[in-house]
Amino acid sequence: MLENPLMAGLGLPREPRPLTLVIFGASGDLTRRKLVPALFSLYLKGSIPGVRVVGFARRDWDTQKFRALVRGWLDSDDTPSASAEVKDAFASGVGFIKSSFEEAAGFGQIATDFARPANRVFYLATPPDSYHTIVEQLRTSGLSSQNGGFSRIIVEKPIGRDLQSARALNEQIARAFPEEQIYRIDHYLGKETVQNIMVMRFGNGIFEPVWNNRYVDHVQITMAETLGVGTRGGYYETAGAVRDMMQNHMLQLLSLVAMEPPVDLDANSIHEEKVKVLKSIAPIAGQRVATETVRGQYEKGIVEGVEVPGYRQETGVDPESTTETFAALRVYLESWRWAGVPFLLRTGKRLSRRTTEITLHFKRPPLLLFAERKPGATPPNELTFRIQPQEGITIGFNSKIPGPTTEMRTVNMDFSYGSAFGEELPEAYERLLLDAMLGDSTLYMRKDEVDSAWRFITEIINGWKESGRPAVSPYRAGSSGPDAAAALLGDPGRRWRRL
């Protein structure tokens, strides 16, 4: 193809080819709170000039009603500000199809009423139990085939609830869409600070040399929430912390922090390296679940100054429930780089503080020159990625306390993402939606990533089921989780990071 010399030096963000984006579940919360603001933000930036948005839902709405609703959503605080003229222009461009997912006619309407642009992206913003029906309809109506244009599908988590169901779902989607047309979303991967992990590691020369078992004692990954299950009690009863957070977000963070440098920044190269990490995780199966995992459940307590009920008192929750709202794992990677380094993962609800972070705890200096008289006075160095809130990076190191002695204390070298940049970070969905439209799956999960993650998690779940161990330890809402989690640390010199 002829080169376009006008493009040289413009450094333009890539622009998707004209396409129709069909959102299944257009009447839902996800569409209103995340998808429409993200699409509008992209529209404002001029990133999606040829994109037509079509809502698909069973609600008794028509196009005019949907446009009016979208126009109203654009006035919410979550949406970027713009002139009324621009908001009107965006809203007047959206289309709507009223149909249930079982009606073939609704899917036929996509092909007839929205024939152009022929490139299509389908977004499943529905509960997972609708995936089967929608995918099947897309297949039988021919919409999943790439005749005259591309056809892609974006699937929200959860992708299954164990290895077997994830495989079944993936197989079913695969009957309609080949792997390269499937985009499995984990919105965590769209976060700026998560993407910054790779930039930090591979865009700087000073970290990678110490990023291995020679210098790293252990790694902690924490995803702590102050929220309880809220109105999701019914769902949470069937999921639990391990399925809800570990299988996806936490293992994705683990793979990013532990992966080898990719040969390129293209999607496949990065997926390859992430999958290698997931495949290298030493299984925790059978009796090992008792020593390598901890599970807990919150009881009533005070969180952020408010008294909150225990998990068993939440709406939709069995009063005798043993579903874990806290989970901690000690994970080892069987790789040259990480052999012998424990990765300590913990996640929980109703903890004392909301935080997501990854900390590399480095080994102590080989000779403790300055700690002779006070053993333990040389705390190890730590490097922390704060994913949220207060996104940034902190390095803890020791410094001499002024005075005639050589006493020292830990001080922090702190980079706060906001210390240089004052503006809001872009929403994860904005980047992810644009990538899917562009055909870039780097920040999505590949089938074998999901598969490997579920294989590991399913063995733990089965181990819990079979052995009943470890018992679910209660913890007070507003605390740091069950005391039992300390057992995973192993070395008496290690401590969980304070929440």
Partner: protein, 329 residues
């Protein structure tokens, strides 16, 4: 903004002490502390900043930057007093976590003694180890005449000079000549960027995208001429020169109407044996490119300034366009 403290002498140490004192006072309301500076911006004014209306665009741009990038701002202008005078002030704006994002501001009014214009006056005030941006926000011809000696003496200190070739009464030849003189006398020691070039990106971007589909690329050798309604004279000239430069031949351009791009524009590119390529934008920011419609937010001077202080890379295409201009003028 704090009241400016007038200092009797241009003593860097006294200025630094005053900056610390003001910073502590200004940051007091912010419970989460203040952010650290990430660059120094040296503003060379050729207009009297106190003259009515002379500082509106500069102040608007700085106001946009305030709250987004903490920085030290040094403003230098030629005053009429016998002796150089200096004022120190500060202002902060809270970010979403109530951390103060602050400007440390030093204003130097160079007197008849010429002290303030000398690089020795302001060079010790730039923050070491951080990028230094110089900005000439007024007419370029006058500014270049006034400040080139100062730039020459401190060329190694500056990472990038930002100008706005659309400002001021100068004609194209004067602007191109001024830029050429600056680059020559400073031995190309720093990057040069132009706000007009960045504002005109919408024209280049949309033209490039219009010819990007495979079926359109074949038409590029048949591009005959271009006509632009809207934009300043310099923005139009830069666009036509860019088009010629990229296509490797002279493409005649007609600037049919002058006005800010943000008020709307229409660009027509004539192609031999094919329909004209039409690109338009209205004042509200709605963009039309052929049959496609979208939105476009015209950058304000503040947004352009933000983008400039976030970028430290040579724009080779801009360099080519300037070289063409130098050769033809």
């Amino acid at each position: 903004m704090s009241d400016a403290s007038r200092l009797p002498v241009l003593d860097p140490r006294a200025i630094e002490e005053e900056i610390i004192r003001i910073r502590e006072r200004e940051s007091n309301p912010y419970s989460s502390g203040v952010k650290t500076n990430i660059f120094t911006l040296v503003i060379f004014r050729s207009a009297d900043p106190e003259a009515p209306g002379a500082s509106v665009h500069v102040e608007a741009a700085l106001q946009f930057l305030l709250g987004k990038r903490p920085a030290r701002i040094i403003t230098i202008h030629q005053g009429s007093a016998p002796r150089t005078e200096v004022w120190v002030s500060g202002r902060c704006y809270p970010d979403r976590r109530n951390r103060g994002v602050c400007f440390e501001e030093v204003r130097i009014e160079s007197g008849d003694d010429g002290v303030g214009a000398d690089p020795g006056a302001w060079a010790p005030l730039v923050i070491r180890d951080l990028p230094v941006f110089a900005w000439m926000p007024d007419g370029l011809g006058t500014a270049a005449e006034l400040w080139t000696p100062s730039l020459r003496g401190a060329a190694g200190l500056i990472d990038k000079l930002m100008v706005d070739s659309s400002r001021g009464p100068e004609d194209r030849a004067a602007v191109i000549g001024a830029l050429g003189r600056i680059r020559e006398t400073t031995s190309d020691a720093f990057l040069v960027s132009d706000f007009s070039w960045r504002r005109g990106k919408v024209l280049r971007e949309q033209a490039a995208r219009s010819f990007d589909p495979p079926e359109m690329r074949g038409l590029l050798p048949r591009v005959r001429s271009a006509r632009l309604y809207g934009g300043s004279r310099m923005e139009a000239w830069l666009f036509f020169e860019w088009l010629s430069s990229r296509l490797g031949r002279v493409v005649p351009g007609e600037h049919a109407w002058e006005g800010p791009l943000s008020e709307g524009f229409r660009l027509t590119i004539s192609v031999e044996g094919a329909a004209d390529v039409e690109i338009g934008c209205t004042r509200g920011g709605c963009l039309e490119r052929g049959e496609e419609k979208g939105a476009y937010r015209f950058p304000t001077d503040g947004e352009v300034l933000l983008e400039e202080v976030d970028t430290l890379a040579r724009d080779a295409v801009f360099g080519e366009v300037l070289s063409r201009g130098n050769a033809s003028s």
